[in-house]
């Protein structure tokens, strides 16, 4: 009986380790290739560790005149952080209003917001493109961030979270003469902190990951995000795979670092709420 259990456990662990290797291999391969000199990359031999270790590829990522990767990083950070701040502003404030106030059409408006939750940007990209063009925001960073300054999931999640805050607390603040804006800022915001962190991570990842919309809006390299920059590298006549891997690894890093740091919180929030990332 004991023997059988040990056998089962070993089998289980073996299965998990095999699977883990498959899952991790592409990351490992990108990382190890990014440290290989070009001569080692273009060979038919399977070289698992770089024989000659070089950081030249990483230097080359930032040395391209036609494709300034440092700028692409900056652009990606600007639109991801900018859109996230707006998303927080709109989510927390309207989450509070939908949670703690009653007014006519409330349920209808909330349902309208929820109804669009599943709709991807591809469905309405053409008219949105024309609106952005008419606003003169084509080929600008604000234009690239525009679709993400509001997020149905954020409003929904914040409302659910603020529902948990007891009304007595808010009434106490009101009796003390707090204005609603101050309650929003000084009572709601600190109490909804974990929801705010969750939504920030999701929003940042969504924008950092975005590709379809930037592809439509960006027209020259000055506003490229890292994702667009990567495909630009790809279109070069001579593809330098080592440089490509270094660039790919660097641009995958920010969301992954956030995940590794806030792992527990992210997994728990998804576990608890079925939030989609």
């Amino acid at each position: 009986m004991v023997g059988k259990r040990v056998f089962q456990r070993t089998l289980k662990l073996l299965f998990l380790i095999c699977f883990a290797v498959v899952v991790i291999f592409p990351f490992y391969w990108a990382l190890s290739s990014s440290f290989k000199p070009e001569s080692e990359i273009l060979s038919d031999q399977f070289v698992i560790f770089p024989k000659r270790f070089t950081v030249l590829n990483y230097l080359n990522v930032f040395n391209k005149e036609q494709a300034p990767f440092g700028l692409f990083f900056l652009n990606s950070f600007i639109i991801s952080i900018g859109a996230t701040l707006f998303t927080l502003l709109t989510s927390v404030s309207s989450g509070y209003v939908f949670s703690k106030f009653n007014f006519r059409l409330k349920n209808l408006l909330f349902a309208a917001i929820l109804a669009t939750m599943m709709m991807p940007i591809q469905v309405y990209v053409i008219p949105l493109f024309m609106t952005v063009k008419n606003l003169g925001m084509i080929n600008t960073l604000p234009g690239m961030a525009l679709p993400w300054i509001i997020m149905s999931t954020g409003i929904f999640f914040l409302r659910q979270n603020i529902d948990q805050i007891p009304n007595e607390l808010l009434n106490a603040a009101r009796i003390d003469g707090c204005s609603e804006y101050r309650i929003l800022w000084q009572v709601i915001t600190p109490l909804a902190k974990s929801a705010i962190v969750a939504i920030s991570i999701i929003s940042f990842n969504v924008v950092w990951n975005s590709f379809f919309w930037p592809l439509v809006v960006a027209q020259d390299a000055s506003v490229y995000t890292v994702n667009l920059g990567l495909t630009y590298f790809q279109r070069q006549y001579t593809i330098e795979y080592g440089v490509n891997m270094a660039a790919a690894f660097l641009s995958a890093l920010p969301p992954m670092v956030i995940f590794l740091v806030l792992r527990r919180q992210i997994l728990e929030n998804i576990a608890l709420s079925g939030l989609k990332l």
Partner: protein
Amino acid sequence: MEKLIFFGQFAVVAVLSIVTFAIILAKPMSAVRRKQLLFVASILVPVLAIFFIVRIYPMLQTLIISLFKYDPIRPVKPFRGLGNYVQLFTRDEQFQQSMRNTLLFAGITVPVNMLIGLCLALVLQRRFRGSSFFESLFFIPYIAPIVPMAIVWQWMYAADGVFNQIILALGAGKVAWMSLHTALYSIMIMFIWQMNGYLMLIFLVGLRGIPDMYYEVASIDGANWWVQFTRVTLPLLRPITLYGLIVATLWAFMVFSQVFVMTQGSDVAPGAAVQVLVLDIYQKGFTYRKMGLASAEAVMLLLIILVITLAQLRLGKAKE
């Protein structure tokens, strides 16, 4: 017409905002209530205005544009009625090919993804030392951005990429991973690798939510593993399974970045063999400037998503 449509949305927003504030100010009510409503309006009016301009209005416009022959640089935009839809289904080989490809993509990735996710979750169901490590590890591909990972995979699939290196080392011949006939399947493998972690996680949440009591009762009754799985686990997992099914299906119908990135610069770029729905919308609308036709296709996508989401609501309700 374009100007009218453009200014129309701001006019609608302006009128609705003014009416809202006018009603609040004009209607007889207590001062406290009025102050409260003014606060509500001061938050919701801007939020809903943005929401209207970046979501609702573009969706309505998609419906309208799909009825026109719409080239943004031509001043005349002739009305075609349902002509664009008729064209899609009768003459547009490109669209029909991309529809077939997308259906194939969904038909394969959805069941495989669900099955692998469920298997992993079953293995990880009972916590043990190191289980949370594996959970996080399997979730990492889902967290990693799509485009860089697609570039990594494209290179692994290349003629002298690592997959062929391994195959050569094992003594077999090279495989053309990104040829006309194989590219779509290679992309599916990458897609499943990338998305699976999420399904694993939600299955895990579902499995761990099943009280131990049920299993204990089942074992006392002498139920073996398979009976427990089919009589206890699967029925109780039904809501999660349904949710996972919907999510996986939506992903498959919306696939774009992987296909776009991985077929660039290969033999198949961007040939009909790997054409998928969203890629076709992009090319029609922004490469060939056939925005009317592209909008009609976007409406088809909208309908598909709507049907899937409504099916979820229906099925979810039916069993409760």
